[in-house]
């Protein structure tokens, strides 16, 4: 039972990391790539880490609980740090004057 929960959570994490990667590779400009990197990154890491936390309830013991709490703390820190990092990167891009991609401009460029 626990194994199935772990596998499902881990699978969800892996799948969203996959889509994050595809997004990072496919999106047209820096800002929209940042959308993929910023959001998918938090969710996929936290989902995988939660899966690993659940795995620790196989043999409940004090040490196991402490490890689970530490992994939860890691996900908490990722949860705090990742949006901040996203914001720092995107404001660096904005301040340096990266122009957002838009469809009109691309069509004009092609003509």
């Amino acid at each position: 039972m626990i194994d199935i929960i772990v596998m499902v959570l881990f699978g969800i994490g892996l799948f969203s990391f996959f889509s994050t990667t595809v997004g990072i590779l496919r999106f047209p400009d820096f800002y929209s790539r940042m959308h993929a990197a910023g959001k998918g990154d938090v969710f996929s890491s936290v989902a995988m880490l939660l899966g690993l936390v659940v795995y620790h309830f196989h043999h409940p013991s004090l040490d196991g609980v402490l490890v689970a709490v530490k992994i939860l703390m890691i996900s908490l820190f990722i949860f705090l740090a990742s949006p901040t990092a996203t914001h720092a990167i995107i404001s660096a891009g904005f301040n340096s004057g990266v122009v957002p991609w838009s469809r009109q401009k691309q069509e004009e460029g092609q003509q």
Binding site: F15, S16, S19, T20, V22, G23, R26, F27, P28, D29, Y31, S32, M34, H35, A36, G38, K39, G40, V42, F43, S44, L62, D63, L66, V69, K70, M73, P83, T84, T86, H87, I90, S91, F94, P100, W101, S102, R103, Q106
Partner: protein, 166 residues
Amino acid sequence: MHKLYSFLVLFSFWMLLSGKFDAFHLTLGVFSSLLVAFLSADLLFHDRGKSDSRRWRELRRFIAYLPWLGKEIVLSTVHVTYLALHPRMRELIEPQVMRFKTRITSEIGQVVFANSITLTPGTITIQEEGGEFIVHALNRKFADGLPGEMEERLLRVFGDEEQANG
């Protein structure tokens, strides 16, 4: 006072990290937490003028706010996944930069608001300066959705009492 609070917070963090509850390690923990509390208490509790009851209330309401944020994070991941895997993705997105002013006055509230915007579907905070937000949105729909519901919820958490009621 804030040094005592940060000592308590840091010492509980130490207990979780350490997992060894013998006298020797606990003494080391007290010592380290005191040192860090002395060094960086002003960082952890930046806003020193805040009353204790207010701080407590904000914490309680903030925890109540988290499930909603979690739901939004899941939604935003689903949305990004959908866009990234969509074969004609370039026709679906219409990136734009917009700016607006928020009604949230407290600094920490603005910070939480900015990070929440970053985590919710389709929007990322680019800049935040004294209540002025510059936001990048993937779509017109998301751009129009701001500040919207999230600001209401955060006003309830961080706003002044009268502002939240009125």
